[in-house]
């Protein structure tokens, strides 16, 4: 990090920070159960749920594993699995 007056840094750089490494539990979506209601997308605080090719998918580069999507999913289509290294 550089010492800048006022701690001014270049903006719009958040995509460069892959916060997925913070996760200790991973949400796993069961496509068979998913009703495509979009609840998971709307509650995700990291905007890490996207629609790709008309299906919901979780972006593990940014998902911090908070579990909100699994908690809110009305179809119980998301389960949290322990991350292991």
């Amino acid at each position: 990090m550089e010492l800048t007056i006022g701690a001014v840094v270049k903006g719009g750089t958040s995509l460069g920070y892959k916060t997925g490494s913070w996760r200790d539990e991973r949400p796993v979506l069961d496509m068979e159960k998913c009703k495509a209601c979009g609840q998971c997308e709307s509650v995700c605080p990291d905007s890490a749920v996207h629609v790709v090719a008309e299906a919901y998918m979780i972006d593990y580069d940014y998902c911090k594993g908070c579990g909100l999507c699994a908690y809110e999913c009305p179809a119980d289509a998301i389960v949290m699995i322990k991350e292991e290294k």
Partner: protein, 400 residues
């Protein structure tokens, strides 16, 4: 030169701010600051002042608006008092870290409870550690001049800090005084438009006050202290530049008043310095070797200038309208911090005077000098802070 008018202190400040062409003003009214921001709002509404006047629902928002405006490259201004300044505090600390050079008038008023709207310095003193530069003024004329200097000081590339001009509520803001005004051309010549190197813009997105880990945070804080240290010299130069235009010279960071050969030197800030000067004159006429140091710039604290003024004195008596509960007055702490290591440093006594608007008159100041003389004769080297004018009978009756 401009014109000389008899003005209410608040109006003088509003005219000084107007002449500095702030692009954004945001404020929430609180006594005794109200007349300043009312005047500016009227000037903006009448088209006399081209500015964005943002009305807000709290002082927290007022400070937030001007910090955002300042980050966007605008010259910005606000004013508040007492609880209002306390509500701004969180934003002001952040603004220091983001190095945003706006100007605030801190109209001094005591802090609740009990509620009172009378003057003391407890409110602005609570911001002394924030990194906001602080000036205290004695008169409406000095308030006018100091506001014009304040924008230039704040915006100096090697300073870039918020600057607060502190003025006593009611005594200065609501009394009428002859004030000499500068012409717009003179102010424009002194204060160029604000053109920061960095500012918020959509074409080049940046973020202010970003994250600092434990390996960098101390360096960011030290950079603020460097700006304060640099400011000591630059502030004097800026005041000199202004003096060359106004013909008025208040001294630099301090005003040393009849301190030559003085054995007993009073230290004061704000309007009480005027009363103290009169008292010093009378005491000098009576053959007493008394002087006064008026602190104009409180942050950065003028340790060296004060030493130059008080060396050789026997006793320095600090009259201050603030108190750090559990300890003593803040000004005496500041003063002693660098005097105590000096050879032959004078003894510093702390007099708490004028809390909540308690009258400090010439007789009171003369009595205070007598206490300094007695302490000197008795060989006193230190003393508990003395609360001046406290009525002991109230305590003998006990709390009900």
């Amino acid at each position: 030169m401009g014109v000389v008018k008899v003005l209410e202190g608040s109006e003088a400040v509003a005219l000084a701010v107007k002449a500095c062409r702030p692009q954004v003003i945001s404020a929430y009214p609180i006594s005794p600051q109200t007349h300043i921001v009312e005047s500016l709002a009227r000037m903006a509404a009448d088209g006399e002042l081209e500015t964005q006047y943002v009305r807000v629902e709290s002082e927290f928002s007022a400070a937030s608006v001007i910090s955002g405006a300042s980050a966007a490259g605008s010259r910005a201004y606000t004013a508040s008092s007492s609880q209002g300044l306390l509500l701004m505090t969180e934003v002001l600390y952040a603004s220091v870290g983001m190095r945003l050079p706006f100007v605030i008038t801190g109209v001094n008023r005591q802090i609740s409870a009990p509620i009172s709207i009378q003057v003391d310095h407890q409110d602005t003193m609570s911001l002394r550690d924030s990194g906001v530069m602080q000036f205290y003024v004695e008169s409406s004329q000095e308030a006018y001049d100091t506001h014009i200097a304040a924008f230039k000081i704040a915006e100096e590339a090697n300073i870039l800090l918020p600057v607060m001009v502190c003025m006593d509520g009611w005594i200065l803001t609501h009394s009428y005084e002859q004030v000499s005004l500068l012409s717009q051309e003179e102010v424009d010549g002194f204060l160029p438009p604000f053109r920061p190197a960095d500012f918020l813009t959509i074409s080049d997105p940046k973020s202010w006050g970003s994250y600092a880990e434990e390996n960098m945070l101390m360096e960011f804080k030290y950079a603020v202290q460097q700006a304060m240290d640099y400011g000591k010299g630059r502030i004097k130069e800026i005041f000199s530049e202004l003096s060359a235009i106004t013909g008025r010279d208040y001294g630099g960071l301090i005003e040393a008043y009849r301190t030559e050969g003085a054995d007993f030197i009073l230290v004061a800030m704000g309007s009480v310095a005027g009363t103290a000067k009169e008292a010093v004159d009378q005491l000098r006429e009576a053959g007493k070797k008394v002087g006064l140091v008026k602190i104009r710039c409180y942050r950065p604290f003028p340790h060296e200038d004060i030493w130059e003024a008080v060396k050789g004195a026997k006793i320095v008596g600090v009259m201050e309208a603030n108190f750090s509960f559990g300890s003593e007055g803040a000004v005496s702490m500041d003063l002693k911090s660098r005097l105590c290591g000096r050879k032959d440093a004078p003894v510093v006594l702390d007099f708490i005077a004028g809390l909540g608007g308690r009258e400090v008159d010439m007789a009171g100041i003369a009595a205070l000098v007598e206490r300094m003389e007695k302490a000197s004769n008795d060989g006193v080297r230190m003393m508990e802070p003395q609360w001046i004018g406290l009525d002991p009978t109230i305590f003998s009756r006990g709390a009900k």
